[in-house]
């Protein structure tokens, strides 16, 4: 296994972990954020704001359940509105977490070791936000269990030829696997917390959560196999999830949806917005929690480069979409192109192109990639841009499809906004709690990056034959 410290010297890169750390100092540093750091005013203010937004969200959801989806702006011909826009946006954000934890693990990109924990937490909370929207959109959310195949007195079964049913399986599998992946990663660190804390109650809680993990190398051996298998399984899974989400559109015949470019274009867009969210979280976290030596500038710069690259895949998707609208010769597709550029939502479409294609190009400059404040703003810009992309896909196609007599307009109501902004509050509140209660950086995986972890003794193969 190539040690990252050697690689850095050769390539003159910023280190993935600042020199001078020992095994003990990593445990102390990460554990002290949870165990010893007092509740700061900044955390308290942030948590209270997010909690208030969460209450607003709960109120809006209660009203939605009481009155029905009529409180939203959805109406025929626009049945899909904000709920689906937000669903696709949130699930896309989650994808960067899985990319970092699974795909970069398989590619042996060891810089991922200090950001994978909170990126996985981000995935988990983003999938939770995403999963709420289709349920809210059901109209009768208390019957959500009808989505699953179970023997029932109605003798009904789900329609397995529908992409909406595929989506149920894809998203629930993704949520479950993300949860176990995150929890498995936490087990050894929870044991570290148990052994570090002096508080009897915390010792019991962390001990119970770590399930009595005792760092036996036999356990580590099985653990590593399971972790690697999970990474190998999560990699095709994450690609399949946004593919299936794109099938929700691509299987339909609505102009602008019925294209084969959708699966790769959706996956790239997901990773694009996901890395933007990683940066939006990582830049303040490393600053305010004083862990700039663990989450280094190299992580920030690498994330910015991934954003730039996936941004160009998304740009290619826009280009091919426009090309096929013209080259395909379908009058409805041609009208969609005209409608996007000159119709009632043209301003939104130009905003999308500006946010997603123009602004991020300044990431070509190394100075910009190393200016964290600017990078934070660009990431917010990409998040807005990717939200607009989903808005354009859902709304522009639905408002004007085939027959002019069925054209319509979409006006989101205050409840659309309350539930959308509410999930942002839910997501942020979960992140605040996660940072406060659990080790935000993987302690055990960081230790493997230290030079002290390097094994130099020779392997005595003959000893093992007995």
């Amino acid at each position: 296994m190539a040690r990252p410290t050697e690689v850095e010297v050769g390539e003159q890169k910023a280190p993935v972990i600042q020199p001078g750390h020992t095994f003990a100092s990593i445990t102390d540093k990460v554990a002290s954020i949870v165990l010893r750091r007092p509740v700061t005013n900044g955390w308290l203010v942030g948590m209270v704001i997010c909690f208030l937004i969460l209450q607003w969200f709960l109120f809006a959801v209660c009203w939605l359940f009481y009155k029905g989806v009529g409180v939203w702006g959805v109406n025929i011909p626009i049945g899909w509105g904000f709920a689906i826009v937000n669903f696709v946006w949130w699930i896309g954000i989650g994808h960067a977490g899985t990319l970092i934890s699974a795909i970069l693990l398989l590619l042996r990109q060891q810089w991922r070791n200090s950001i994978n924990r909170f990126a996985e937490a981000m995935t988990l909370f983003a999938v939770a936000c995403a999963g709420m929207f289709p349920v809210f959109h059901l109209g009768r959310p208390w019957l959500a269990y009808w989505l699953f195949p179970y023997p029932n007195t109605m003798s009904y079964w789900p329609n397995f030829r529908s992409p909406l049913v595929w989506d149920v399986f894809a998203v629930s599998t993704y949520g479950t696997i993300s949860l176990v992946f995150w929890f498995v990663g936490l087990i050894p660190d929870l044991a570290s917390m148990r052994d570090t804390t002096q508080n009897k109650v915390l010792k019991f809680v962390f001990g119970a959560m770590s399930m009595g993990w005792r760092n036996s190398v036999r356990h580590w051996n099985r653990y590593e196999t399971a972790y690697l298998l999970l990474a190998g399984l999560a990699t095709p899974l994450v690609l399949s999830v946004h593919t299936v989400v794109s099938f929700d559109f691509a299987i339909g015949i609505v102009p602008g949806w019925h294209t084969t470019i959708f699966p790769p274009y959706f996956v790239a867009g997901a990773i694009y917005s996901g890395f933007a969210m990683v940066l939006v979280l990582a830049i303040p976290i490393r600053k305010f929690y004083d862990i700039e030596d663990l989450i280094t500038q190299r992580h920030v710069e690498n994330s910015a480069m991934v954003m730039l690259a996936t941004g160009w895949i998304v740009a290619y998707g826009y280009g091919i979409e426009a090309f096929v609208n013209w080259y395909g010769g379908d009058p409805y597709e041609s009208f969609l192109r005209w409608n996007r550029l000159h119709g009632p939502y043209a301003l939104w479409y130009y905003a999308l192109l500006f946010f997603n294609l123009v602004v991020p190009q300044i990431l070509w400059f190394k100075k910009v990639r190393n200016n964290n404040f600017l990078l934070f703003l660009i990431s917010l810009d990409v998040l807005v841009g990717m939200w607009l992309e989903r808005f354009i896909i859902v709304v522009v196609s639905l408002t004007r499809d085939f027959v002019p007599s069925s054209f319509g307009q979409y006006y989101p109501t205050q409840f659309d906004w309350a539930i959308f902004i509410g999930t942002l509050g839910f997501f942020s509140a979960c992140m605040f709690l996660f940072l406060r209660l659990l080790p935000a950086v993987s302690i055990a995986e960081l230790k493997t990056l230290l030079p002290q972890a390097e094994v130099t003794v020779e392997h005595e193969a003959e000893v093992h034959q007995g």
């Binding site: 329609n159 894809a170 570090t196 580590w220 094994v455």
Partner: protein, 178 residues
């Protein structure tokens, strides 16, 4: 020579290389009921105590195959027997439409099998274990490496084994009360 009051003897090491060398010597001396502890995964250390193969991958494979097969059979049964819907004479067994759910269920079941299989083979959750009775063992999750020879080992001898462990230059040797 099983001693009912002792679970084993525990030697503590400061560096990963010392622990690996010592583990090779313990295994070479014929001890088999042994275990080693490290704050992060060290493949060479589990190799050194003679632990080469784990069954996690097999459990994962079996779980995945079962999950995928069950998902496909369920969809086949629903669409051809349980709730057949004739749509313009299209085939009831429309297998391409069943692939996605089959794939997702394969991933779900193999992933859960890998995790729960790993926990089961590791014997977790385990609320009590004698090694935690040694005060310095808290450092096993921090920065120290430990090797334990269990008293159930055939070659175990309270005095001889202790002398043997001390000859390996550990930071400390402690008795693990059971």
């Amino acid at each position: 020579m099983k001693d009912p009051r002792t679970y084993g003897l525990m030697a503590e090491f400061d560096t990963v290389n010392d622990a690996i060398e010592a583990a090779h010597k313990v295994y070479g001396a014929g001890y088999r009921k042994i275990d080693a502890y490290a704050p992060f995964p060290v493949e060479e250390l589990s190799e050194a105590i003679g632990f080469h193969h784990n069954g996690v991958a097999l459990v994962c494979l079996v779980g995945g195959l079962l999950g995928g097969t069950a998902a496909y059979v369920l969809q086949y049964w629903i669409n051809t027997v349980g709730y057949p819907v004739n749509i313009g004479g299209r085939p009831l067994h429309s297998w391409p439409a069943f692939i996605i759910v089959t794939f997702e269920m394969t991933i779900l079941f193999s992933g859960l099998s890998a995790v729960f299989g790993m926990l089961a083979l590791n014997g977790l959750p385990q609320p009590y274990h004698p090694v935690f009775n040694v005060p310095q063992f808290d450092a096993a999750s921090k920065d120290k490496f430990f090797i334990v020879i269990f008293s159930s080992d055939k070659k175990y001898d309270p005095e001889g084994t202790r002398q043997f462990l001390e000859s390996l230059n550990p930071t400390s040797v402690a008795e693990v009360p059971s």
